[in-house]
Amino acid sequence: MSSKTNSSSNKIDQYRRRLLGGSAAAVAGLTLAPGLILNTVQAKPADQAVSNKNRWGLLIDTKKCADGCTDCVTACNTEHGLREIHGPATDAQWIRNVTLKNKSTGHTVNMPVMCQHCENPPCVDVCPTGASFKRDDGIVLVDKHICIGCRYCMMACPYKARNFIHEVLTDQLPVAPRGKGTVEACTLCVHKVDNGDGTTACADACKHGAITFGDLNDKNSLISKKLEMTGGRQLRAELGLNTGVRYQGL
């Protein structure tokens, strides 16, 4: 009994520490540029469900995305334990480096393309089992426990963001369970979001500052400020999916 009391008070201490750490981080603001103040994202308590108060997203500045750089892809692969099996044709790619070339002007644009975390995700519409789902905070995920690997969602996704796992996998990381016969895609680093890290592996890794992570619902977040000041477009906006990932410089 005493051990139980002990461990539960330890737990409370842990939560308290996390809470204190979280709010201390939230107080700290970082001025990046005149008018742009980075407010660190505050961690939600671990026992609280996510809510639609937040809408997580990314803003990608294609003008900053450097030619030939693959840092975000490498960081994503490292974070989630993705590794080479049979080469790019069949290996899972949560982020793809896409180069667009305007044929008439020759102007090229580099950009990372991942799951766009749509507000109205086609992959969720078509999934026959309910495995493809959107969390209340806008993150689109696959419940691999009930995914039957039919791949309808891969067909439905306009961004080719989803991957099917063909091989038996080993050595998956605790933060990213993945397995044969299921579909997967960018999780917007959901484990980091829930931990209150306030960033994703790709945003963290981009030394050119091309990727900004943040809360689209928070008017004071860096991502919202940037969108307000310099704008941002959706890929295939005509589909009306209201994507959580936005692009600048297209």
């Binding site: 939600k44 026992d47 691999k144 605790p174 829930d194």
Partner: protein, 163 residues
């Protein structure tokens, strides 16, 4: 029932009871031994999140409930989380190594093998705490560079092992 059948019945039921008792004693005497009587690494914590009998009977329901809470709602408390079960129960043995899911001494498979229950969790989930993954000195994960991990190790279904 005549008088000649009674001792027979008594003997049969006594034998039955004895075999159940000895099965329980040899195979489920405690969390620290696997089916073969080998010592399984002792858990890190002082006590489990619930009494042993409760956990033995209901852990699958607890895990399933927790998985839905975590995945769908982002509730990441430690109690009943599979990662925390592994963190506590998969500890290094005397040789300093942790048992993998296909090893006899792995906490989960040691019991599931005896109970003949196929365990699917670890086809996707990590079977050991994160600190037992190979990492480069720089802290980056290098199993990408380990060619041995590229080959698809044949999957072993636990309760068929040894057949």
């Amino acid at each position: 029932m005549n008088s000649r059948q009674l001792p027979k019945l008594l003997l049969t039921s006594a034998l039955l009871l004895w075999s159940i008792a000895s099965f329980a004693a040899s195979d489920f005497s405690g969390p620290d031994r696997d089916a073969g009587g080998n010592i399984v690494p002792t858990p890190k914590g002082e006590s489990c999140v619930a009494p042993t009998a409760d956990i033995r009977a209901n852990h699958m329901d607890y895990l399933k409930h927790k998985r839905n809470e975590t995945m769908r709602k982002g509730i990441r408390t430690e109690k009943n989380s599979l990662v925390e079960c592994i963190n506590c129960h998969v500890t290094p043995g005397e040789d300093g190594k942790v048992a993998r899911i296909n090893d006899d001494q792995h906490f989960c498979s040691s019991c599931h093998r005896v109970a003949s229950v196929t365990l699917d969790c670890f086809e996707c989930h990590a079977d050991r705490p994160v600190e037992y993954f190979s990492r480069s000195p720089a802290g980056h994960d290098v199993f990408a560079l380990n060619p041995a991990l590229k080959t698809n190790t044949p999957h072993v279904v636990m309760n068929r092992k040894g057949q």
